[in-house]
Protein backbone atom coordinates (compact mmCIF):
# COMPACT_ATOMS: atom_id res chain seq x y z
CA UNK A 1 0.00 0.00 0.00
CA UNK A 2 1.30 3.45 -0.90
CA UNK A 3 2.56 5.61 1.95
CA UNK A 4 0.04 8.42 2.43
CA UNK A 5 2.21 10.31 4.91
CA UNK A 6 3.58 13.62 3.65
CA UNK A 7 5.38 14.44 6.90
CA UNK A 8 6.88 12.12 9.48
CA UNK A 9 8.29 13.62 12.65
CA UNK A 10 10.13 11.30 15.00
CA UNK A 11 11.26 12.07 18.55
CA UNK A 12 11.72 15.77 17.92
CA UNK A 13 13.26 17.77 20.76
CA UNK A 14 14.18 21.42 20.95
CA UNK A 15 15.26 23.61 23.82
CA UNK A 16 16.35 27.23 24.09
CA UNK A 17 19.06 27.41 26.72
CA UNK A 18 17.31 25.95 29.78
CA UNK A 19 13.78 26.17 28.37
CA UNK A 20 12.50 22.86 27.03
CA UNK A 21 10.10 23.64 24.16
CA UNK A 22 9.61 20.28 22.43
CA UNK A 23 10.45 16.88 23.86
CA UNK A 24 10.20 13.60 22.00
CA UNK A 25 7.42 14.82 19.72
CA UNK A 26 6.39 12.26 17.08
CA UNK A 27 3.76 13.03 14.50
CA UNK A 28 2.55 11.94 11.06
CA UNK A 29 0.65 14.20 8.65
CA UNK A 30 -1.17 12.51 5.77
CA UNK A 31 -1.50 13.90 2.26
CA UNK A 32 -4.53 16.19 1.93
CA UNK A 33 -5.06 16.38 5.68
CA UNK A 34 -5.74 19.57 7.69
CA UNK A 35 -3.99 19.22 11.01
CA UNK A 36 -4.52 21.81 13.71
CA UNK A 37 -1.91 22.24 16.43
CA UNK A 38 -3.35 23.57 19.66
CA UNK A 39 -1.63 24.63 22.81
CA UNK A 40 -1.25 27.55 25.17
CA UNK A 41 1.12 30.38 24.32
CA UNK A 42 4.75 29.36 24.58
CA UNK A 43 4.15 25.63 24.23
CA UNK A 44 6.27 25.24 21.11
CA UNK A 45 3.62 25.33 18.37
CA UNK A 46 5.44 27.86 16.19
CA UNK A 47 8.77 26.19 16.97
CA UNK A 48 7.33 22.96 15.58
CA UNK A 49 6.41 24.72 12.31
CA UNK A 50 9.80 26.41 12.07
CA UNK A 51 11.53 23.07 12.56
CA UNK A 52 9.45 21.53 9.76
CA UNK A 53 10.40 24.31 7.32
CA UNK A 54 14.04 24.29 8.41
CA UNK A 55 14.13 27.74 10.01
CA UNK A 56 15.10 26.18 13.33
CA UNK A 57 17.30 23.17 13.82
CA UNK A 58 16.03 20.72 16.44
CA UNK A 59 18.38 19.32 19.05
CA UNK A 60 17.24 15.74 18.44
CA UNK A 61 14.88 13.81 16.24
CA UNK A 62 14.09 13.46 12.58
CA UNK A 63 11.76 15.24 10.18
CA UNK A 64 10.87 13.51 6.93
CA UNK A 65 9.06 15.35 4.18
CA UNK A 66 8.21 12.98 1.34
CA UNK A 67 10.76 10.51 2.75
CA UNK A 68 13.60 13.04 2.76
CA UNK A 69 15.09 13.78 6.14
CA UNK A 70 15.34 17.56 5.98
CA UNK A 71 17.94 17.59 8.74
CA UNK A 72 20.40 15.58 6.69
CA UNK A 73 20.14 17.26 3.28
CA UNK A 74 22.01 20.18 1.76
CA UNK A 75 20.61 23.72 1.65
CA UNK A 76 19.95 23.35 -2.08
CA UNK A 77 17.95 20.18 -1.52
CA UNK A 78 16.10 21.84 1.36
CA UNK A 79 15.26 24.78 -0.91
CA UNK A 80 13.87 22.37 -3.51
CA UNK A 81 11.54 21.04 -0.82
CA UNK A 82 10.70 24.55 0.38
CA UNK A 83 9.51 25.48 -3.12
CA UNK A 84 6.63 23.08 -2.50
CA UNK A 85 5.77 24.51 0.90
CA UNK A 86 3.85 27.70 1.69
CA UNK A 87 4.23 29.42 5.04
CA UNK A 88 1.83 32.03 6.38
CA UNK A 89 3.48 33.94 9.22
CA UNK A 90 1.60 35.27 12.21
CA UNK A 91 2.53 38.80 11.18
CA UNK A 92 1.98 37.99 7.47
CA UNK A 93 5.62 39.08 6.92
CA UNK A 94 4.83 41.02 3.73
CA UNK A 95 7.90 42.72 2.27
CA UNK A 96 7.05 46.27 3.22
CA UNK A 97 9.28 47.91 0.62
CA UNK A 98 7.35 46.15 -2.17
CA UNK A 99 3.81 46.61 -3.47
CA UNK A 100 1.31 43.74 -3.33
CA UNK A 101 2.11 42.91 -6.96
CA UNK A 102 5.87 42.80 -6.24
CA UNK A 103 5.29 40.71 -3.10
CA UNK A 104 3.45 38.11 -5.14
CA UNK A 105 5.84 38.27 -8.09
CA UNK A 106 8.92 37.87 -5.87
CA UNK A 107 8.93 34.05 -5.50
CA UNK A 108 7.61 33.53 -9.04
CA UNK A 109 10.39 35.52 -10.71
CA UNK A 110 13.00 33.54 -8.82
CA UNK A 111 11.61 30.04 -9.23
CA UNK A 112 9.76 30.02 -12.55
CA UNK A 113 10.44 31.10 -16.06
CA UNK A 114 7.18 32.98 -16.64
CA UNK A 115 6.66 35.61 -19.32
CA UNK A 116 5.35 38.98 -18.12
CA UNK A 117 1.86 38.03 -19.37
CA UNK A 118 1.90 34.71 -17.52
CA UNK A 119 3.20 36.45 -14.42
CA UNK A 120 0.42 39.05 -14.47
CA UNK A 121 -2.16 36.35 -15.07
CA UNK A 122 -0.91 34.25 -12.17
CA UNK A 123 -0.87 37.25 -9.81
CA UNK A 124 -4.36 38.34 -10.85
CA UNK A 125 -5.78 34.83 -10.48
CA UNK A 126 -4.26 34.41 -7.03
CA UNK A 127 -5.54 37.79 -5.88
CA UNK A 128 -8.98 36.78 -7.11
CA UNK A 129 -8.80 33.65 -4.96
CA UNK A 130 -8.33 35.80 -1.87
CA UNK A 131 -10.86 38.41 -3.14
CA UNK A 132 -8.37 41.26 -3.17
CA UNK A 133 -7.85 42.07 -6.86
CA UNK A 134 -8.21 45.79 -6.12
CA UNK A 135 -5.21 45.79 -3.78
CA UNK A 136 -2.70 44.85 -6.46
CA UNK A 137 -0.85 48.18 -6.50
CA UNK A 138 -1.17 48.97 -2.80
CA UNK A 139 1.73 48.95 -0.37
CA UNK A 140 1.51 46.67 2.69
CA UNK A 141 1.29 49.75 4.96
CA UNK A 142 -2.00 50.66 3.23
CA UNK A 143 -3.63 47.32 4.09
CA UNK A 144 -5.74 46.39 7.12
CA UNK A 145 -4.83 43.40 9.32
CA UNK A 146 -7.29 41.10 7.54
CA UNK A 147 -6.11 42.26 4.10
CA UNK A 148 -2.49 41.65 5.07
CA UNK A 149 -3.39 38.08 6.08
CA UNK A 150 -5.09 37.52 2.74
CA UNK A 151 -2.16 38.92 0.78
CA UNK A 152 0.23 36.87 2.91
CA UNK A 153 -1.90 33.84 2.10
CA UNK A 154 -1.91 34.74 -1.61
CA UNK A 155 1.89 35.02 -1.60
CA UNK A 156 2.18 31.64 0.14
CA UNK A 157 -0.06 29.79 -2.32
CA UNK A 158 1.07 31.50 -5.53
CA UNK A 159 3.68 28.81 -6.17
CA UNK A 160 1.01 26.08 -5.84
CA UNK A 161 2.57 24.38 -2.81
CA UNK A 162 1.63 20.86 -1.76
CA UNK A 163 1.97 21.72 1.90
CA UNK A 164 0.82 24.87 3.71
CA UNK A 165 2.01 25.84 7.17
CA UNK A 166 -0.06 28.46 8.96
CA UNK A 167 1.29 30.19 12.07
CA UNK A 168 -1.65 31.73 13.94
CA UNK A 169 -3.51 32.75 10.77
CA UNK A 170 -6.33 34.51 12.64
CA UNK A 171 -4.56 36.12 15.58
CA UNK A 172 -5.57 39.72 16.11
CA UNK A 173 -8.58 39.55 13.78
CA UNK A 174 -12.22 40.14 14.70
CA UNK A 175 -14.55 37.06 14.78
CA UNK A 176 -16.08 37.81 11.37
CA UNK A 177 -12.73 38.22 9.63
CA UNK A 178 -11.48 35.15 11.52
CA UNK A 179 -14.35 33.15 10.05
CA UNK A 180 -13.72 34.56 6.57
CA UNK A 181 -10.00 33.76 6.67
CA UNK A 182 -10.65 30.27 8.06
CA UNK A 183 -13.21 29.53 5.32
CA UNK A 184 -10.79 30.90 2.76
CA UNK A 185 -8.07 28.55 4.02
CA UNK A 186 -10.47 25.60 3.83
CA UNK A 187 -11.67 26.54 0.32
CA UNK A 188 -8.12 26.95 -0.93
CA UNK A 189 -7.15 23.64 0.59
CA UNK A 190 -9.99 21.94 -1.25
CA UNK A 191 -9.43 23.81 -4.50
CA UNK A 192 -5.66 23.33 -4.59
CA UNK A 193 -5.66 19.94 -2.85
CA UNK A 194 -3.08 20.97 -0.28
CA UNK A 195 -2.01 19.46 3.00
CA UNK A 196 -2.12 21.96 5.86
CA UNK A 197 -0.73 22.31 9.35
CA UNK A 198 -2.38 25.14 11.24
CA UNK A 199 -1.00 26.42 14.51
CA UNK A 200 -3.69 28.28 16.39
CA UNK A 201 -5.53 28.69 19.64
CA UNK A 202 -8.55 30.06 17.87
CA UNK A 203 -11.47 27.62 18.24
CA UNK A 204 -13.54 29.21 15.45
CA UNK A 205 -10.66 28.75 13.05
CA UNK A 206 -9.97 25.18 14.22
CA UNK A 207 -13.60 24.08 14.01
CA UNK A 208 -13.80 25.27 10.41
CA UNK A 209 -10.48 23.88 9.22
CA UNK A 210 -9.45 20.84 11.24
CA UNK A 211 -9.66 17.23 10.15
CA UNK A 212 -7.56 16.33 13.15
CA UNK A 213 -6.05 18.22 16.07
CA UNK A 214 -3.15 17.72 18.44
CA UNK A 215 -2.53 19.47 21.75
CA UNK A 216 0.92 20.48 22.90
CA UNK A 217 1.49 20.81 26.62
CA UNK A 218 4.71 20.78 28.60
CA UNK A 219 6.68 20.25 25.36
CA UNK A 220 4.76 17.06 24.47
CA UNK A 221 1.71 16.03 22.48
CA UNK A 222 -0.83 15.26 25.19
CA UNK A 223 -4.00 14.79 23.12
CA UNK A 224 -4.78 13.89 19.56
CA UNK A 225 -8.02 13.34 17.68
CA UNK A 226 -10.98 14.96 15.95
CA UNK A 227 -12.15 18.31 17.30
CA UNK A 228 -15.65 16.95 18.04
CA UNK A 229 -14.21 14.17 20.19
CA UNK A 230 -11.68 16.37 21.94
CA UNK A 231 -14.27 19.02 22.75
CA UNK A 232 -16.46 16.40 24.49
CA UNK A 233 -13.57 14.99 26.53
CA UNK A 234 -13.74 14.95 30.34
CA UNK A 235 -10.06 15.81 30.62
CA UNK A 236 -9.81 19.03 32.70
CA UNK A 237 -7.19 20.52 30.38
CA UNK A 238 -9.38 19.98 27.29
CA UNK A 239 -12.48 21.13 29.16
CA UNK A 240 -10.70 24.35 30.07
CA UNK A 241 -9.58 24.84 26.52
CA UNK A 242 -12.97 24.29 24.92
CA UNK A 243 -15.16 25.94 27.54
CA UNK A 244 -15.65 29.58 28.42
CA UNK A 245 -15.36 28.75 32.11
CA UNK A 246 -12.22 27.80 33.98
CA UNK A 247 -12.46 24.20 35.21
CA UNK A 248 -10.33 23.23 38.19
CA UNK A 249 -8.08 20.22 37.65
CA UNK A 250 -8.94 17.41 40.03
Amino acid sequence: MADTRLIRIQNLSKRFETLKVLEDVSLDVRIGENLVVFGRSGTGKSVLLKCIIGLLKPDNGQIFIKDKNILEISLNELNDIRKNIGFLFQSSALYDSMSVRENLAFPLIRHFDFSQKELDEKINNTLELVSLSDAIDKMPSDLSGGMRKRIGLARSIITDPELMLYDEPTTGLDPITTKEISELILNLQKKLNMTSIVVTHDLICAEIIADRAIFLKDAKIVHEGKIEDLSKSDDPFLKNFFSNEIVKAS
Binding site: K50, I53, G54, L55, K57, L75, N79, D80, R82, K83, I85, F87, F89, Q90, S91, A93, L94, Y95, D96, S97, F106, P107, R110, H111, T159
Partner: protein, 269 residues
Amino acid sequence: MNLPVIKHKRRATFSHLVYNFFANITGLTIFNWEFIKAVFLPPYEIAEVKKHMDELGVKTFPIVSITGFIIGLVLALQSYPVLLRFGATDFLPNTVALSVIRELGPVITALIFAGRVSSGIGAELGSMRVTEQIDAMEVSAINPFRYLVVTRVIATTMILPVLTIYVIFLALIGGYVAVIITENMSFEYYKNAIIGAVEFGDLIPGVAKTFVFGYIAGIVGAFKGYTADGGTEGVGRASTTAVVFASLLILIFDMILVQITLMLWPTLG
Protein backbone atom coordinates in the same frame (compact mmCIF):
# COMPACT_ATOMS: atom_id res chain seq x y z
CA MET B 1 22.17 29.78 6.02
CA ASN B 2 22.35 29.62 9.78
CA LEU B 3 24.52 32.37 11.21
CA PRO B 4 25.59 31.87 14.81
CA VAL B 5 23.40 33.74 17.25
CA ILE B 6 25.36 36.52 18.95
CA LYS B 7 23.86 36.95 22.41
CA HIS B 8 24.69 40.40 23.73
CA LYS B 9 24.77 41.13 27.40
CA ARG B 10 22.55 44.03 28.33
CA ARG B 11 24.10 45.33 31.57
CA ALA B 12 26.62 48.14 31.12
CA THR B 13 29.37 46.60 33.22
CA PHE B 14 32.96 46.59 32.00
CA SER B 15 33.05 42.80 31.60
CA HIS B 16 29.84 42.87 29.56
CA LEU B 17 31.18 45.65 27.33
CA VAL B 18 34.33 43.62 26.68
CA TYR B 19 32.20 40.52 26.04
CA ASN B 20 29.96 42.41 23.60
CA PHE B 21 32.95 43.87 21.77
CA PHE B 22 34.48 40.44 21.16
CA ALA B 23 31.05 38.95 20.35
CA ASN B 24 30.66 41.65 17.69
CA ILE B 25 34.13 41.05 16.28
CA THR B 26 33.51 37.28 16.11
CA GLY B 27 30.08 37.72 14.55
CA LEU B 28 31.35 40.26 12.04
CA THR B 29 34.22 37.98 11.03
CA ILE B 30 31.82 35.11 10.33
CA PHE B 31 29.47 37.51 8.52
CA ASN B 32 32.38 38.70 6.34
CA TRP B 33 33.27 35.13 5.49
CA GLU B 34 29.65 34.44 4.49
CA PHE B 35 29.76 37.55 2.29
CA ILE B 36 32.94 36.39 0.55
CA LYS B 37 31.37 32.97 -0.07
CA ALA B 38 28.14 34.48 -1.42
CA VAL B 39 29.40 37.39 -3.51
CA PHE B 40 30.72 35.32 -6.42
CA LEU B 41 27.74 32.97 -6.71
CA PRO B 42 24.74 33.60 -8.95
CA PRO B 43 22.09 35.05 -9.03
CA TYR B 44 23.86 38.41 -9.14
CA GLU B 45 20.85 40.69 -8.56
CA ILE B 46 22.33 43.54 -10.64
CA ALA B 47 19.04 45.47 -10.55
CA GLU B 48 19.05 45.39 -6.75
CA VAL B 49 22.65 46.64 -6.62
CA LYS B 50 21.71 49.57 -8.91
CA LYS B 51 18.67 50.32 -6.77
CA HIS B 52 20.77 50.42 -3.61
CA MET B 53 23.45 52.53 -5.26
CA ASP B 54 20.70 55.04 -5.93
CA GLU B 55 19.06 54.70 -2.50
CA LEU B 56 22.23 54.61 -0.42
CA GLY B 57 24.59 56.61 -2.58
CA VAL B 58 22.92 59.10 -4.86
CA LYS B 59 20.57 60.24 -2.11
CA THR B 60 23.59 60.96 0.11
CA PHE B 61 24.82 63.58 -2.38
CA PRO B 62 23.00 66.58 -0.79
CA ILE B 63 24.48 66.06 2.68
CA VAL B 64 28.01 65.35 1.45
CA SER B 65 27.82 68.35 -0.89
CA ILE B 66 27.30 70.71 2.03
CA THR B 67 29.91 68.88 4.09
CA GLY B 68 32.51 68.91 1.32
CA PHE B 69 32.13 72.61 0.67
CA ILE B 70 32.34 73.46 4.38
CA ILE B 71 35.41 71.25 4.98
CA GLY B 72 37.38 73.11 2.30
CA LEU B 73 36.15 76.52 3.40
CA VAL B 74 36.84 76.02 7.12
CA LEU B 75 40.16 74.30 6.53
CA ALA B 76 41.38 77.25 4.43
CA LEU B 77 40.05 79.82 6.92
CA GLN B 78 41.70 78.03 9.85
CA SER B 79 45.00 77.47 8.04
CA TYR B 80 45.30 81.06 6.81
CA PRO B 81 46.35 82.73 10.12
CA VAL B 82 48.97 80.03 10.76
CA LEU B 83 50.43 80.33 7.27
CA LEU B 84 50.30 84.14 7.54
CA ARG B 85 52.46 83.96 10.68
CA PHE B 86 55.18 82.22 8.64
CA GLY B 87 54.63 84.34 5.54
CA ALA B 88 53.56 81.25 3.64
CA THR B 89 50.05 82.14 2.52
CA ASP B 90 51.00 81.18 -1.03
CA PHE B 91 50.92 77.60 0.21
CA LEU B 92 47.24 77.82 1.21
CA PRO B 93 46.00 75.98 -1.93
CA ASN B 94 48.62 73.25 -1.39
CA THR B 95 47.63 72.82 2.28
CA VAL B 96 43.94 72.62 1.49
CA ALA B 97 44.39 70.28 -1.47
CA LEU B 98 46.75 67.80 0.20
CA SER B 99 44.75 67.69 3.46
CA VAL B 100 41.47 67.20 1.66
CA ILE B 101 42.69 64.67 -0.90
CA ARG B 102 44.81 62.52 1.39
CA GLU B 103 42.79 62.48 4.59
CA LEU B 104 39.89 64.79 5.31
CA GLY B 105 37.88 64.13 2.16
CA PRO B 106 37.95 60.31 2.35
CA VAL B 107 37.54 60.05 6.14
CA ILE B 108 34.85 62.68 6.66
CA THR B 109 32.86 61.45 3.67
CA ALA B 110 33.13 57.90 5.00
CA LEU B 111 31.98 58.95 8.49
CA ILE B 112 29.01 60.86 7.14
CA PHE B 113 28.23 57.99 4.79
CA ALA B 114 28.39 55.55 7.72
CA GLY B 115 26.12 57.80 9.76
CA ARG B 116 23.48 57.76 7.09
CA VAL B 117 23.94 54.40 5.42
CA SER B 118 25.02 52.01 8.20
CA SER B 119 22.19 53.15 10.42
CA GLY B 120 19.74 52.98 7.50
CA ILE B 121 20.77 49.44 6.56
CA GLY B 122 20.81 48.42 10.24
CA ALA B 123 17.30 49.75 10.79
CA GLU B 124 15.88 48.37 7.55
CA LEU B 125 17.29 44.86 7.88
CA GLY B 126 16.63 44.88 11.63
CA SER B 127 13.02 45.72 10.99
CA MET B 128 12.83 42.98 8.35
CA ARG B 129 14.35 40.53 10.83
CA VAL B 130 11.96 41.25 13.70
CA THR B 131 8.89 41.26 11.43
CA GLU B 132 9.91 37.87 10.00
CA GLN B 133 10.38 39.21 6.45
CA ILE B 134 13.86 37.66 6.28
CA ASP B 135 12.41 34.33 7.45
CA ALA B 136 9.69 34.69 4.81
CA MET B 137 12.36 34.95 2.12
CA GLU B 138 14.19 31.96 3.48
CA VAL B 139 11.09 29.74 3.53
CA SER B 140 10.37 30.81 -0.07
CA ALA B 141 13.70 29.16 -0.99
CA ILE B 142 15.25 32.57 -1.70
CA ASN B 143 18.65 33.30 -0.17
CA PRO B 144 17.99 36.45 1.91
CA PHE B 145 21.69 36.96 2.60
CA ARG B 146 22.48 37.26 -1.08
CA TYR B 147 19.43 39.37 -1.87
CA LEU B 148 19.58 41.73 1.11
CA VAL B 149 23.18 41.80 2.32
CA VAL B 150 25.40 41.16 -0.70
CA THR B 151 23.58 43.69 -2.89
CA ARG B 152 23.78 46.44 -0.28
CA VAL B 153 27.44 45.86 0.55
CA ILE B 154 28.44 45.87 -3.14
CA ALA B 155 26.47 49.12 -3.58
CA THR B 156 28.13 50.88 -0.62
CA THR B 157 31.59 49.68 -1.69
CA MET B 158 31.12 51.01 -5.22
CA ILE B 159 29.42 54.30 -4.43
CA LEU B 160 31.62 55.73 -1.64
CA PRO B 161 34.69 56.35 -3.86
CA VAL B 162 32.46 58.29 -6.27
CA LEU B 163 31.07 60.35 -3.40
CA THR B 164 34.58 60.97 -2.09
CA ILE B 165 35.89 62.33 -5.40
CA TYR B 166 32.86 64.60 -5.54
CA VAL B 167 33.44 65.78 -1.94
CA ILE B 168 37.12 66.48 -2.68
CA PHE B 169 36.12 68.58 -5.68
CA LEU B 170 33.60 70.58 -3.61
CA ALA B 171 36.08 71.02 -0.76
CA LEU B 172 38.57 72.53 -3.19
CA ILE B 173 35.86 74.95 -4.35
CA GLY B 174 35.08 75.74 -0.69
CA GLY B 175 38.78 76.35 -0.16
CA TYR B 176 38.84 78.79 -3.06
CA VAL B 177 35.90 80.74 -1.57
CA ALA B 178 37.95 81.09 1.63
CA VAL B 179 40.94 82.21 -0.40
CA ILE B 180 38.83 84.94 -2.02
CA ILE B 181 37.76 86.09 1.45
CA THR B 182 41.26 86.11 2.95
CA GLU B 183 43.71 86.62 0.09
CA ASN B 184 43.48 88.34 -3.21
CA MET B 185 44.36 85.18 -5.13
CA SER B 186 43.19 84.52 -8.69
CA PHE B 187 41.40 81.27 -9.54
CA GLU B 188 44.12 80.59 -12.11
CA TYR B 189 46.82 80.79 -9.42
CA TYR B 190 44.78 78.68 -6.99
CA LYS B 191 44.17 76.02 -9.64
CA ASN B 192 47.79 75.93 -10.82
CA ALA B 193 49.08 75.78 -7.22
CA ILE B 194 46.89 72.73 -6.56
CA ILE B 195 47.91 71.03 -9.81
CA GLY B 196 51.54 71.69 -8.97
CA ALA B 197 51.26 70.39 -5.44
CA VAL B 198 49.13 67.33 -5.97
CA GLU B 199 50.45 64.27 -7.71
CA PHE B 200 48.38 61.45 -9.06
CA GLY B 201 49.91 59.29 -6.33
CA ASP B 202 48.22 61.49 -3.71
CA LEU B 203 44.78 60.81 -5.13
CA ILE B 204 45.07 57.03 -5.54
CA PRO B 205 45.61 55.94 -1.88
CA GLY B 206 43.05 58.48 -0.65
CA VAL B 207 40.33 57.23 -2.96
CA ALA B 208 41.38 53.56 -2.82
CA LYS B 209 40.84 53.39 0.93
CA THR B 210 37.26 54.57 0.47
CA PHE B 211 36.48 51.19 -1.15
CA VAL B 212 37.39 49.68 2.24
CA PHE B 213 35.39 52.34 4.12
CA GLY B 214 32.37 51.76 1.87
CA TYR B 215 32.62 48.04 2.50
CA ILE B 216 32.83 48.63 6.26
CA ALA B 217 29.81 50.95 6.25
CA GLY B 218 27.75 48.38 4.35
CA ILE B 219 28.84 45.18 6.07
CA VAL B 220 28.56 46.56 9.61
CA GLY B 221 25.07 47.98 8.97
CA ALA B 222 23.99 44.72 7.36
CA PHE B 223 25.51 42.64 10.17
CA LYS B 224 23.81 44.61 12.93
CA GLY B 225 20.46 44.60 11.13
CA TYR B 226 20.55 41.00 9.92
CA THR B 227 21.34 39.68 13.40
CA ALA B 228 18.99 42.05 15.27
CA ASP B 229 16.71 40.60 17.90
CA GLY B 230 14.39 41.85 20.60
CA GLY B 231 11.62 43.62 18.67
CA THR B 232 11.56 47.36 18.03
CA GLU B 233 14.11 47.94 20.78
CA GLY B 234 16.44 45.62 18.89
CA VAL B 235 15.92 47.59 15.67
CA GLY B 236 16.87 50.83 17.42
CA ARG B 237 19.90 49.15 18.96
CA ALA B 238 20.96 47.72 15.59
CA SER B 239 20.72 51.14 13.96
CA THR B 240 22.66 52.97 16.67
CA THR B 241 25.38 50.40 17.20
CA ALA B 242 25.84 50.08 13.43
CA VAL B 243 26.89 53.75 13.21
CA VAL B 244 29.14 53.57 16.27
CA PHE B 245 30.82 50.34 15.22
CA ALA B 246 31.20 51.35 11.55
CA SER B 247 32.67 54.77 12.47
CA LEU B 248 35.11 53.17 14.89
CA LEU B 249 36.22 50.59 12.33
CA ILE B 250 36.61 53.25 9.63
CA LEU B 251 38.98 55.21 11.87
CA ILE B 252 40.93 52.09 12.87
CA PHE B 253 41.26 50.99 9.25
CA ASP B 254 42.23 54.53 8.22
CA MET B 255 45.13 54.34 10.66
CA ILE B 256 46.19 50.94 9.29
CA LEU B 257 45.79 51.95 5.64
CA VAL B 258 47.77 55.17 6.11
CA GLN B 259 50.63 53.10 7.55
CA ILE B 260 50.45 50.67 4.64
CA THR B 261 50.37 53.55 2.14
CA LEU B 262 53.44 55.13 3.69
CA MET B 263 55.24 51.82 3.62
CA LEU B 264 54.40 51.28 -0.05
CA TRP B 265 54.93 54.91 -1.15
CA PRO B 266 57.42 56.49 1.28
CA THR B 267 57.58 59.66 -0.88
CA LEU B 268 54.02 60.52 0.18
CA GLY B 269 55.24 61.15 3.72
